[in-house]
């Protein structure tokens, strides 16, 4: 037990450190660019604005927020201090709403969409990959090239094809949004039906992409394991096929969990772009709105929250890994 505490303590500490560096990058990267980015940001944010007092307010906001008269480390401390207070600045495009407010509203949508979709896609993909590896022949030959093609389809491409086929051509799904534009969020049956019908397309498009990638990985892992010596030895001992396959898939599963952790950032990034196709009211659409409107606080807030999501997801996977990987388990019990 003590070993576990140490193991997880180290993991959590490492992730906290990563988070601090991510926050620092979020702060320093825009400042390391040549020229005066803050000035450029202010100019970009105020182009097309005619209201002099609004422009002044935005200028003031920036200078206050970035504390440009102070030194960089001091500015950073102010920034971190504000972060702890949950203050990410004020959105320009949705003035005077605070960024935390805008993001807090959209992050729920992204989480509710991506967590179930990635998990379901991962499970189905792994099962199909394992089945393909075990059956080989017809099923494998027919399904694998398709999965391989699917996994190479960009997430936003799949989203567009889904929208075009099901919403525009067949008209059996809504075109965009998270719920009907004529409804207000509430717990009425009408709203829930609308919610589900808007959920279907983004959900299935993410699942399809995820299945493709995971099935291929699982298939090659399972093939590799099926050819391993311990399988041959077990067969030689006369252990039942079913039991062997149980072991094989459990072993093949472990690299898949690591693989999920490694590809999570790319996956979430891709899905966030796909979100914008559906105008799904999540982080992706918020980010796009921020970029289009030159709303710098909103962009930096969104990227920070995306990083945080990826970090937490990775941490969860690592913790799970400690539970399911017997090698990690053994190492903890030894100490």
């Amino acid at each position: 037990m003590k070993g576990y505490v140490k193991y997880y303590g180290q993991k959590v500490a490492w992730y906290v450190l990563t988070l601090i560096i991510a926050v620092a990058l979020n702060f320093f990267l825009p400042r390391m660019m040549p020229g005066d980015p803050v000035r450029a940001i202010v100019n970009e944010a105020t182009t097309g604005m005619t209201n002099a007092s609004a422009i002044q307010q935005i200028e003031q906001q920036y200078y206050e927020r970035f504390g440009l008269d102070k030194s960089l480390p001091e500015q950073f401390l102010t920034y971190v201090g504000n972060l702890f207070k949950g203050d990410l600045g004020t959105s320009f495009t949705q003035y005077p709403r605070p960024v935390t407010d805008v993001i807090g509203e959209s992050v729920i949508w992204t989480l509710a969409l991506q967590i179930p979709a990635i998990l379901v896609g991962w499970f189905i993909g792994n099962i199909l990959g394992a089945v393909a590896a075990y059956l080989r022949k017809g099923f494998d030959k027919a399904v694998m090239p398709l999965f391989m093609f699917l996994s190479n389809m960009p997430a936003f491409g799949m989203a567009i094809i889904m929208v075009w086929v099901f919403a525009v051509t067949l008209k059996i799904a809504p075109l965009s949004g998270g719920y009907g534009y004529d409804l207000l969020p509430s717990f009425t049956p009408e709203f829930i039906v609308s919610l589900i019908s808007h959920y279907a397309l983004p959900f299935f498009s993410i699942i399809l992409i995820t299945i493709g990638g995971q099935a291929i990985g699982m298939r090659s892992m399972s093939i590799y394991e099926l050819n391993a010596d311990y399988v041959k030895y077990s067969r030689f001992l006369g252990i039942k096929d079913r039991k062997i396959i149980g072991y094989v898939f459990r072993n093949a599963m472990l690299p898949q969990v690591t693989g999920l952790a490694l590809s999570l950032g790319t996956m979430i990034g891709g899905n966030i772009v796909a979100e914008t196709i559906f105008s799904y009211p999540g982080i992706g659409t918020t980010l796009l709105a921020g970029i289009t409107g030159g709303d710098y606080p909103l962009i930096s807030g969104s990227t920070l929250i995306i990083t945080l999501m990826v970090l937490v997801a990775n941490l969860v996977i690592e913790i799970l890994y400690g539970v399911i990987d017997p090698r990690v388990k053994a190492a903890q019990q030894d100490s």
Binding site: Y15, N152, Y224, L262, V273
Partner: protein
């Protein structure tokens, strides 16, 4: 070396991937050369012109030589075009009520019988008791329309002369022109996009630009990843710890986020295609570094490396001669994957409006961004986005197939068999 290349070409996966990739590449190189228009030249005046061959209307009207007279089911088509379903139903009702036709004998589908019965039975002078004047007038209008469609005189063409309009000829519906005889025709094999550009020409040039983006990004990422990986793996110690720390950091912090932050900080005037490619390259190296490092660590204590060390060779020499050749095949595979993910990264950035900010060159991502901005899929203009998506998918599919093929050749353990 030659032997290895021969080996590679024995892998069916590699061959399939290679063929798909070469087809795309050759098309991207040669189609813009044979196309009569420039990739960024606006041709069609309307947005999202559907695929097809377009004939200049003026040419078609003026052309008098080489006209053909064809007997085709044109009348039916023209009537279908001129009458709505509602109007056909009204004609049937009139005939059944006043023309002595039995109910159910006529149907809107059998247009020929309907028109024939109508022509022989309809009497515009007949005043039906109880029928509104407006309804009677509507039947008269339908009748005129039917007669005009059936008339053989056709359209009269008049030109602006000295004393007003002068009749220069008539065109009837049975006259056709061979499309080859029309001087001004233009074929959009894949339609035109929102700017009126020929999609196929634009697409092929965009593929070439995107491949260049992928190549620049891939080369930068692989070079950095390889250099740091070799250093970390071979030198070990503090250098290794530091590099591993940074690598682990950037595998957890999504490169997508870094890309957004950096691209957003570069002013849009400076964000050309090459700059975006470089930014992608500088954020994509960590996983290459990670894998090269682990490969190098497994090589570090091989006998031939130790022998080199004992012989007093310098570190760069050992790395170049005793380690690099062993990771070379792996580096090629990593480069292929980096190219494919670089193309995808550019597309994603452009979708968010952070791609190259230029209107002089098209990339696959920019084409997607434009069709999103002009709601191509909402209006059903599939030719503006589907070919682009499929191009991205097929490029990355072929590169990944080649990669898998290479993997199987160089890692015998993975060979399915």
């Amino acid at each position: 070396m030659l032997h290895q290349i021969k080996q590679v070409f024995r892998s069916p996966k590699f061959i399939v991937g290679f063929i798909i990739f070469m087809i795309i590449l050759l098309m991207a190189i040669f189609y813009p050369l044979i196309s009569s228009v420039g990739p960024m030249q606006s041709i069609s005046k309307a947005p999202f012109t559907a695929p097809g061959t377009y004939v200049n209307i003026e040419d078609a009207v003026r052309d008098t030589g080489g006209q053909l007279t064809l007997e085709l089911p044109i009348v039916e088509n023209r009537i279908e075009d001129a009458l709505t379903a509602d109007e056909k139903q009204k004609m049937i009702t009139w005939l059944e009520d006043n023309g002595g036709v039995a109910a159910g004998e006529l149907s809107a589908d059998d247009i020929e019988t309907l028109i024939n019965t109508w022509n022989s039975t309809y009497d515009p002078t007949l005043v039906v008791q109880g029928m509104l004047t407006s309804a009677r007038e509507e039947y008269k209008r339908i009748d005129i329309r039917v007669k005009s469609v059936l008339s053989v005189t056709g359209v009269t063409i008049a030109e602006q002369g000295e004393d007003g309009l002068e009749v220069t000829g008539t065109i009837d519906y049975k006259r056709f022109i061979n499309v080859n005889d029309v001087a001004n025709t233009f074929t959009f094999p894949l339609g035109a996009d929102n700017f009126g550009r020929d999609v196929l020409t634009e697409l092929t040039s965009a593929i070439l630009t995107s491949l260049r983006v992928g190549l620049i990004a891939g080369l930068i990422a692989t070079a950095i990843g390889l250099a740091l990986g070799l250093l970390a793996g071979y030198v070990g110690g503090l250098v290794d710890n530091l590099i591993t720390f940074i690598t682990n950091l950037f595998t957890v912090i999504p490169s997508f986020v870094l890309l957004i932050l950096i691209s957003n900080s570069i002013s849009s005037s400076a964000r050309g295609v090459e700059v975006v490619a470089m930014v992608i390259g500088f954020t994509a190296w960590p996983w290459t570094c990670r894998s090269v490092r682990s490969q190098v660590i497994s090589l570090r204590n091989r006998d031939h490396v130790n022998l080199s060390k004992l012989s007093g060779h310098s570190m760069p020499k050992i790395i170049l001669r005793d380690i690099l050749p062993y990771v070379a095949s792996y580096v090629v595979m990593a480069l292929i994957l980096q190219i494919s993910s670089g193309i995808l990264a550019e597309a994603q950035l452009s979708m968010l409006g952070l791609g190259p900010s230029t209107t002089e060159v098209a990339t696959l991502g920019l084409m997607m961004n434009w069709s999103q901005k002009f709601s191509a899929w909402q209006v059903g203009a599939w030719w503006a986005f589907l070919p682009v998506i499929l191009s991205i998918a097929f490029i990355s599919f072929s590169l990944n197939l080649m990669n898998t093929g290479l993997d199987q050749v160089f890692n015998p353990q993975l060979r399915d068999s």
